[in-house]
């Protein structure tokens, strides 16, 4: 390969880096600023990973969605309408027809174990807070603060466990 062509490829690679990763970060940043919903969670599994500590959890919506539509044999993806009950959002049924039929709604696919998968099951927490998270039990003051985009995908903003925020300082 000639040096000129090689430099052009390097330039294209730099452009791809900027467009792809820059666009990704910009999109996630804009989604963070959207309207927030509060989703109850259950089942903690704090882990220690090389990239940092994160808490694995399951949204209550996974169980609620299964009550409306049995995941085994179901067609995926499915959209589930959610509504507020005592400050937290719960699944109220399947979304039928156009977007106006329910808003907000969550998009779910099927995971490998035939459960509804809302695409979010972890939240990275401060290393010093990870041990604290391990000891706390689920209760009504435990929920995920998130935004939902136009496709129904959930984007985590903060994790509140027993009323205590585990998110980044700027988000609390």
């Amino acid at each position: 390969m000639s040096p000129t062509l090689g430099r052009r490829v390097l330039l294209a690679l730099a452009l791809a880096d900027v467009v792809f990763f820059g666009g990704w970060v910009a999109r996630e940043e804009s989604l963070r600023r959207g309207g927030r919903i509060y989703l109850p969670i259950e089942g903690y599994d704090p882990r220690d990973l090389l990239s940092g500590h994160y808490v694995r959890f399951q949204l209550v919506a996974v169980r609620e969605a299964a009550n409306f539509l049995e995941p085994r044999g179901a067609i995926a993806p499915q959209m589930f309408c959610i509504e507020v009950k005592e400050g937290l959002y719960h699944v109220k049924g399947l979304r039928m027809g156009s977007a106006s039929s329910c808003s907000p709604f969550l998009r779910a696919t099927l995971d490998n174990t035939a459960h509804w998968d809302f695409g979010i099951d972890r939240f990275y927490v401060d290393e010093r807070l990870a041990n604290e998270a391990r000891r706390i039990q689920a209760n009504p003051n435990t929920y995920l603060v998130a935004t939902v985009d136009e496709t129904g995908a959930i984007h985590a903003v903060d994790l509140v466990v027993n009323g205590k925020s585990f998110g980044p300082k700027g988000m609390r």
Partner: protein
Amino acid sequence: MRWVVWGIASVGGLAVAVGIISVIAANWDDIPEKLKLAACGALLLGSLGGAWRTSRLENLWPRDLFLLFHCGMVPATIGLIAQIYHLSGHPWRAVGLCAVFALPAAIVAKQGLLTDVFIGFLTLALGFFLSEYHWFDNLFQGDLRVVFVYAAFGLVLLLSVSAIRGAHFGASAAAKRWGIGLLAATAVAASGYWATASSRWLGQQPYPVLRWPMGIFLASAAALSAQLWWTRPPALRARLAAIAVLTLLLCGALVGRSDEANLLLRQFVGFGLFAALCIAVAFAAAGSGSKLGTNLATLTLAGRVFVFYLELAKNLMTTGIGLIVTGLVCLAVAYAWWRFRRTLPVVALSRGAPG
């Protein structure tokens, strides 16, 4: 003396680098997210800047090292974004994305090392993808789908070797390394199936036995054989024999595996096929003038002989048979080396001039 100084300096540099990483890691959560992202972006683009600056040098190693660093920064950036925005998803997509970004670097680089990185990402992404669909779960119950997929991938890499050799010699060498490595790994896995019995018949297995992985493997093997026949490389017959024996080793492993009664026969046939494969590869490597390849194939055969002895050593009778067979194989290998010392260039080389 110069190497000692370089060695001490390297240890010192490594210690400082690891120390800096450790200090950053200790204060990781106190660093603002924007700063983390900016630093990551700077390193990502800075590596390409470095590659740009050094691309006019006569020695292109520095440029390729910058590109290698960029290949490492891509997964780091994906991981950082995933951590900051709490994203979770399918690992194969992230690794596949790394492969996409590694491809231009592999094309530009003079060294084959960047192609190694690209193929490594591809291999890993394929593994994660198959793992997501539980293709590895029944690996030890005779489900050879993964083995066939990886063997086909190895054959495709070998098919690409001659196509890219003219344009990028380093990349073709890397494709050859990975192709042979993947085929060797699948051959070892298949030989394991030959040596064990399963409680289930193939047709009664609880998972669907897909025929298409075997189909793509057979098609790839046929294509590689046709390409070899067309291009007439050195040691053509040994290469074709190696492909034929590998096909028998992999496809034959699926036949009659669940029958306990014929286990001893299967062990012998499996061992015979693996030994034949090693011999064919050794001949192909020797005919091509690769001393390393010949030695590795012979060493693998020696290892398989030892494992075969362990497989059979259940009572005095099987131990005796095992010792006789393994001894005969060792004698045959020694005879072959002596017999072909004049016709094979590698054997001739090892007798005279070094390596």
